[in-house]
């Protein structure tokens, strides 16, 4: 069990110290509603990562990180259910590995706190140049999602499937929204985040939990908290079937099939749904791997992913464009076999063993990721609790979970016929 305590209203510290690791890892996750502030929030997190009062320029801050034996400062934006989660994290070497016996861990923890609470702000401004640069970089980052067609098709399927739900929005906000963000909006987003975001500070590895708690407690003492309410809409059954297609000059097509998983909240029947998804298309023993890849030789990859925070399952595969019908028909046929109990009982055991392994984390980053992804949940679930829950799942539970699965949206990224790739 990790240690859990509250530092302020909806500011939770989750800690799992372990001496065996050579690093101290701290992440701060900040969950906000997916509203009109999304674009400003996204810019904010990258502006915070650039500098702080003590190191007011990007190269100075990066130089400081190098001095701290290459401490890694991370920043990110993600969707977690229908919340936009901003995160800032630092991984640093444990003190005992310092070559000159200097302190590294606490310096790194303090630096992370300063980046969030003491940014390089003068008169309500993060600096016009910094904002312009971060706008350019963020817009470029969004445009470049096109470069990786697998992720692009995955996101497109979600945006079509959930176009009437907040989850259908881009995690960063749109390019137009980003372009129109003004300095005052970013400053307001910062104030708003400190006051209203649901916070989780996750601490793993060699970190000194007490000292980290002190640092952040002190920072929050100066903040008036008024936490936001975060809600996610769960649509249990598909209301209509839709197919969308986009053509690109590529060699390989990408098929993504979106399903509603029949869940009413993120932990609804979660153990059976997890096993169902695993047997359907996660492991090498799964229906999709065994048939679409191994038996029919149609794809190098064909797998399914469960997004429990929104109650949806997505199947994705890289295929020849003219094989779309064949592959999608086979995916549905495999699902029907699974629904009708046509699964070797040994596969259920294989799945449970594999899921047990997936919940045995060997790196501090793995543990950190497990807990920080629960920022929007009131109760923390440990990997052991999940493993125990999965252990109880029967084949009947799996079949029942498949019965609730309904196909909603298909997105096909097709290869244009005249595709050429001459060097």
């Amino acid at each position: 069990m990790p240690n859990i305590r509250m530092l302020a209203d909806k500011v939770r510290l989750v800690s799992e110290p372990a001496d065996k690791f050579k690093t101290s890892c701290i992440s701060v996750s900040m969950a906000l509603p997916m509203d009109e502030r999304m674009a400003a929030n996204s810019l904010l997190v990258y502006l915070l990562k650039r500098s702080c009062k003590a190191y007011p320029e990007l190269s100075l801050l990066n130089g400081r990180l190098d001095e701290l034996y290459g401490a890694i400062l991370g920043a990110g934006v993600a969707k977690n259910g229908e919340a936009q989660v901003l995160s800032l994290s630092i991984t640093s070497l444990a003190d005992k590995f310092a070559l000159d016996d200097e302190s590294i861990q606490l310096e790194a923890a303090q630096l992370l706190s300063d980046i969030i609470f003491k940014p390089n702000v003068k008169n309500g401004s993060f600096g016009a140049e910094s904002l312009a640069t971060e706008k350019r970089l963020l817009i470029q980052r969004i445009e470049e999602e096109l470069n990786d067609k697998r992720t692009y098709a995955f996101n497109k399927c979600i945006s079509h499937m959930c176009h009437n739900e907040a989850f259908g929005k881009d995690k960063y906000g749109t390019i137009e929204e980003i372009q129109s963000v003004k300095m005052a909006d970013v400053y307001d987003a910062w104030k708003n985040m400190l006051s209203t975001a649901v916070f989780q500070i996750t601490v793993v590895g060699a970190a000194d939990e007490e000292r980290v708690a002190e640092i952040f407690k002190k920072a929050f003492d100066k903040v008036e908290r008024n936490p936001a309410t975060l809600e996610t809409v769960f649509i249990q059954r598909s209301r209509r079937f839709n197919r969308f297609e986009e053509k690109f000059p590529v060699n390989q097509g990408k098929l993504v099939m979106g399903f509603r998983a029949g869940m009413s909240h993120r932990r609804d029947n979660i153990f059976a749904v997890t096993v169902m998804n695993d047997i359907f298309g996660m492991g090498t023993y799964s229906k999709l791997f065994m048939n679409i890849r191994e038996k029919m030789s149609l794809a190098y990859y064909c797998w399914s992913r469960l997004v429990a925070s929104k109650g949806i399952v997505l199947v994705e595969s890289g295929i020849d464009t003219d094989k779309e019908k064949k592959v999608s028909a086979e995916v549905l046929s495999q699902l029907s076999d699974l629904r009708n109990g046509k699964t070797d009982p040994e596969v259920l055991e294989s799945s449970k063993r594999a899921l047990r392994e997936k919940h045995t984390f060997t790196t501090p980053e793995g543990i950190l990721g497990w807990y920080s992804s629960q920022v929007t949940s009131d109760e923390i679930l440990t990997p052991e609790e999940v493993v125990n829950g999965i252990e109880q799942v029967t084949m009947e539970d799996v079949c029942a979970a498949v019965k609730k699965l309904s196909v909603d949206t298909v997105f096909m990224l097709s290869a244009q016929e005249e595709a050429e790739n001459e060097v």
Binding site: A18, D19, K20, F21, K22, L58, S59, N62, G63, L65, D66, E67, L68, Y69, G70, T91, S92, L93, F97, L99, T133, L137, Q140, R141, E143, E144, L146, N147, D148, K149, G205, F248, P249, N251, Q252, G283, T284, Y285, S297, L298, Y300, Y301, G318, I319, D320, E346, V347, S350, R353, A354, R356, E357, K358, T360, T362, T363, P364, N421, E422, V423
Partner: protein, 423 residues
């Protein structure tokens, strides 16, 4: 068999190395507090091995992509395939092929000894038929097509094609649709016999297992052979590239580039010290706290994805720098200017010290990860080094050494690879 013990006190790790009578090298790093283990069984046979020595002692050309094809096929067997066998232990198994090696691996926390038995067994028992080879041509065909659409991959392989005229590092790891069509079961058996003998292999295990146990499993599970290491042919090639510019049109949002500087080498392998000195030098010159990065960013010529690396192996060595840019030629010109400036003015000593510290920190952090550590121990062996040699080399790098490595970077040996968006 006898183990030799290597300990790094500061790091707090001990590695046991031993040579089994079959010729197999074994490296084990037991880790206290870890229930999981990661094992990798590596063969010195990669995509650059496009020739084998025949009975009369001459090198004979073989199709491109055979090492990778064999990697896929070894998972198959007459009865249960390797994935089905690992499904019974719960371990997650995988394999990869790089320029210089093929590696088979698993990670698991339960039944580690049984998994190790399976690993040794499936890699040593090839089973191919014409039918299964043909099936794999379909799967690998899709894998090749997937990579052809990945700009990051293409920009690097195009650069290698521009830099190298003869060295097989210029060919794709998986080969081409045409070259894999030439592969049949007989050829695979012949190549298997040639490369897969214990003298050409290493077993590296890290995590919750003792060296004696590993030795016992190897004793019972390894086939005895002549134990000879396969010879590679070194042909020195002219340092002047084939062409200075190479371009490909792909479906991307913005131009991507990679600038490469080929090194004039007279020996097939760089020393570990030279290798690390180059990496530290690149960090100091082109890292995120460098004046070069600041300049490129300020002039809007790169984004945060800009990076540099030393890319080297048997018979090849080059420095690569790249990222996304609206004007790759302008970015390349600035990079070349900076190398020239630092060649005459010298690298800033504070920047060098910071880079060295960062490099050391990142190396120690790497030991958190049992996957990375096992692969590191394997690579050190293949290049003729003892455990922890990389940390010692890092500590001993001087500014003079870094400066000497910088002097190897010459404009006349450079080439620029660019990916241009399709109109």
């Amino acid at each position: 068999m006898k183990f030799k013990k290597y300990t790094d006190k500061k790091l707090g790790e001990t590695v046991y190395c031993g040579k089994h009578s079959s010729g197999l090298e074994i490296r084990v790093l037991p880790k206290a507090g870890y229930s999981s283990a990661y094992a990798v069984f590596g063969v010195k046979y990669g995509s650059i091995d496009t020739a084998v020595k025949n009975v009369s002692g001459e090198f004979e050309t073989i199709p491109e992509g055979t090492a990778h094809f064999l990697e896929h096929k070894l998972f198959e067997s007459e009865d249960l395939n390797a994935f089905e066998r690992f499904a019974k232990t719960g371990a997650s198994a995988n394999a990869y092929t790089s320029f210089e090696k093929t590696a088979y691996l698993f990670k698991g926390s339960e039944n580690i000894e049984e998994s190790l038995n399976i690993l040794l067994d499936f890699v040593q028992n090839p089973y191919f038929t014409q039918q299964t080879v043909e099936k794999e041509q379909g799967i690998i065909g899709q894998e090749i097509r997937m990579y052809q659409d990945l700009p990051d991959w293409q920009v690097m392989f195009n650069l290698l094609k521009a830099l190298y005229s003869k060295h097989p590092v210029r060919i794709d790891i998986a080969g081409t649709q045409d070259s894999i069509a030439k592969i049949d079961a007989d050829l695979l058996y012949r190549l298997y016999e040639n490369f897969y003998n214990p003298g050409n292999m290493v077993l590296s295990v890290v995590g919750g297992i003792e060296p004696e146990k590993v030795a016992e499993i190897v004793e019972n599970g390894i086939k005895k052979t002549d134990g000879s290491e396969c010879e590679r042919k070194f042909e020195k090639e002219d340092a002047v590239p084939v062409q200075n510019y190479i371009e490909e049109k792909l479906s991307v949002a913005q131009k991507q580039f990679m600038l490469g500087f080929k090194e004039d080498i007279s020996e097939p392998l760089l020393s570990l010290e030279d290798e690390i000195a180059s990496q530290i030098m690149l960090e100091a010159v082109a890292g995120k706290s460098s004046p070069l990065f600041k300049k490129l960013l300020d002039e809007e010529l790169v984004d945060m994805g800009f990076g540099s690396e030393l890319f080297n192996g048997f018979g090849f060595s080059c420095v690569m720098l790249g990222g996304t840019s609206k004007d790759p030629e302008a970015a390349a010109a600035i990079i070349k200017e900076e190398f020239a400036r630092l060649g005459s003015e010298g690298i800033d000593s504070a920047a060098f010290e910071r880079a060295k510290r960062k490099f050391y920190g990142r190396m120690v952090m790497g030991y958190n990860d049992i996957d990375d550590t096992a692969n590191l121990l394997m690579n050190l062996y293949f290049n003729g080094y003892e455990p922890f040699a990389e940390i010692e080399a890092c500590k001993s790098v001087t500014l003079e050494k870094a400066q000497a490595r910088l002097a190897k970077i010459k404009d006349e040996y450079s080439a620029l690879s660019v990916i241009v968006p399709v109109e």
